[in-house]
């Protein structure tokens, strides 16, 4: 298990007050995680000791920057157990990962009559790029509904997956319902009809062991800023065979082999998809985040979140008028709980919690379709990570009860 007090000491922000004399209770890790000092220092060390552009420099700084930056790619590769570092494309965030996939793979492979299948519990990042590319190519976008329990409707899935389906793109873990989907099984079902399988790993990779070879997914996108790493960097994993067959997307320096004014030929993987000066400090920071999570042990991270989530499900169920979205037990879900409270709008909840120093998110969490299906405009969401304590969950419950009182409920 994690020694949570020791973990907390790694996060400088946990010593900061949310308001004067009101300590911070950060329950918004699913939106963006806090950063341990090890990650911050790795980036400082780049900026203060060996800052230089990468890949083309012969001098010491550039050599060192290149080797640490490319070393970070290999750390990510091992973290998700990708067969090769060539399959780790560094992008800005999960969102850019899906756009790369939709524009490059989708643009080259989709045509009228083809279907792209997503689910009704996707984040906008895994909806909008497919809408755009379907409109451009004439393919049709379909979606798998979810049940009242907040799990994917497997019967519907079996009907929707047909030989028309060219790709099934779904989230491994929902950022609202908390649902952990049976990724390996879903990938197999996609493959069984000859479709590719793309996984949204944004809420999965930070929280548990993820093994792309075990899942056998064809693509997976995720963001650094949700896994103790910096903003400005994320990953698209793809099988080399597929990535090699895809056309480049963005053009520019580093992604070319030879440029004439008439025509260019393109570089090898992963550089073919990485145009221009990369997010160097951010790549290095992501590498440090992977080191940090590895040192904690992803099994420990997962066990800690399961324990906190169990505790929170129990504690929140005692708040009058509170409805929890998604599966009822921690075993089926990741480290977050979204909820509504009768006659108390999520914004007002978040505002009143903030007065007590408690940071939660309120809104549609970039999942408008899911909220619409559930008949609500917004929800409040508390999300947990390696530094979350049961005391913080207790503080949440106390503050929710106070919010109800303010609203005369």
């Amino acid at each position: 298990m994690l020694d949570v007090q020791k973990v907390r000491a790694d996060f400088p922000i946990l010593n900061v007050d949310a308001h004067p004399d009101v300590p911070l209770v950060y329950l918004d890790s699913a939106a963006s995680s806090q950063k341990p000092i090890q990650v911050i220092e790795a980036m400082n060390s780049y900026y203060q000791e060996y800052n230089a552009n990468v890949h083309r420099g012969i001098h010491r700084l550039s050599e060192e920057a290149t080797s640490v930056y490319e070393g970070a790619r290999i750390k990510v590769q091992k973290f998700i157990n990708a067969p090769s570092h060539e399959e780790v494309i560094l992008v800005r965030n999960a969102t850019e990962g899906f756009n790369l996939l939709a524009y490059s793979w989708g643009g080259a492979n989709l045509k009228p009559g083809d279907e792209v299948l997503i689910t009704a519990m996707e984040h906008h990042a895994n909806i909008v790029p497919w809408q755009i590319v379907c409109e451009q190519t004439g393919a049709t976008l379909k979606h798998v509904p979810f049940t009242d329990e907040g799990t994917l409707d497997m019967d519907a899935l079996d009907e929707l997956l047909t030989e028309k389906t060219k790709i099934f793109s779904f989230t491994a873990a929902s950022n609202v319902l908390g649902t952990i989907n049976p990724t390996k099984e879903l990938v197999a079902k996609a493959h069984a009809v000859g479709a590719l399988a793309a996984v949204d790993g944004a809420q999965a990779v930070p929280h548990a062991n993820v093994d792309v070879q075990d899942w056998n997914c064809d693509f997976m996108a995720f963001s650094s800023h949700k896994m103790c790493g910096p903003t400005g960097i994320g990953v698209l994993y793809g099988k080399a065979e597929l990535l090699n067959a895809m056309p480049p997307w963005m053009g520019g320096g580093d992604m070319i082999r030879r440029v004439t004014l008439e025509k260019s030929t393109y570089n090898d993987l992963p550089y073919k998809f990485e145009a221009g000066t990369p997010a160097i400090a951010e790549g290095i920071g992501l590498g440090a985040a992977v080191d940090y999570l590895n040192a904690l042990g992803m099994d420990n991270v997962h066990a800690h979140e399961q324990a906190i989530t169990s505790y929170a499900l129990e504690a929140l169920s005692e708040v009058d008028g509170l409805t929890i979205l998604g599966p009822k037990t921690a075993a089926e879900r990741g480290g977050l709980v979204a909820f509504t409270i009768d006659r108390l709008h999520p914004h007002d909840i978040a505002q009143l919690l903030d007065e007590d120093g408690i940071a939660v998110r309120a809104g549609h969490h970039c999942a408008m379709p899911m909220h619409k299906i559930m008949g609500i405009g917004a929800s409040a969401r508390a999300s947990f990570y390696v530094h979350t304590t049961t005391d913080e969950v207790d503080a949440l419950v106390t503050s929710l009860n106070r919010a109800r009182k303010v609203f005369r409920l």
């Binding site: 709008h345 914004h347 505002q351 405009g377 303010v406 609203f407 005369r408």
Partner: protein, 125 residues
């Protein structure tokens, strides 16, 4: 803070909104949402022959701030001409609420209904 932001008047209006509902027929109707949070407000307006607001109703879904603001704003503009409406700005909406410490994000809640009204009004100007 809540003492100010969630004071009696705002909570009262949240529970018992003014001018809530829809108008049919109406001169114009406009709906918009706050893309960042999902709050929605629809405003229906009936003008009289002098192009003054004769009747106005709002409906929608949102937080106490945006809903109270819709009540106050719709009350405030009754009898105004379209030109007068177009003169209003976000600060007027905040002033109507009488809340002094709205953060950047919540200002958008407070100003949603005035934005919706002006967008609708500009079409008939």
């Amino acid at each position: 803070m809540s003492a100010d932001m969630y004071r009696e008047m705002i909570l009262d209006l949240y529970e018992n909104p003014l001018n809530h509902g829809e108008l049919d027929p109406c001169t114009f109707s406009h709906e918009e949402d706050n893309p960042l949070c999902g709050d929605v407000v629809k405003i229906d307006v009936l003008l009289d022959d002098d192009k003054k607001i004769k009747e106005i109703k709002w409906s929608g879904d949102g937080c106490a701030i945006s809903m109270a603001s819709a009540s106050l704003m719709t009350d405030h503009v009754k009898g105004m001409t379209i030109e007068e409406v177009m003169e209003l700005n976000g600060q007027d909406a905040v002033d109507l609420l009488g809340v002094s410490n709205l953060s950047m994000g919540r200002v958008k809640c407070a100003t949603l209904s005035i934005k919706v009204l002006k967008a609708g009004a500009s079409a008939v100007q």
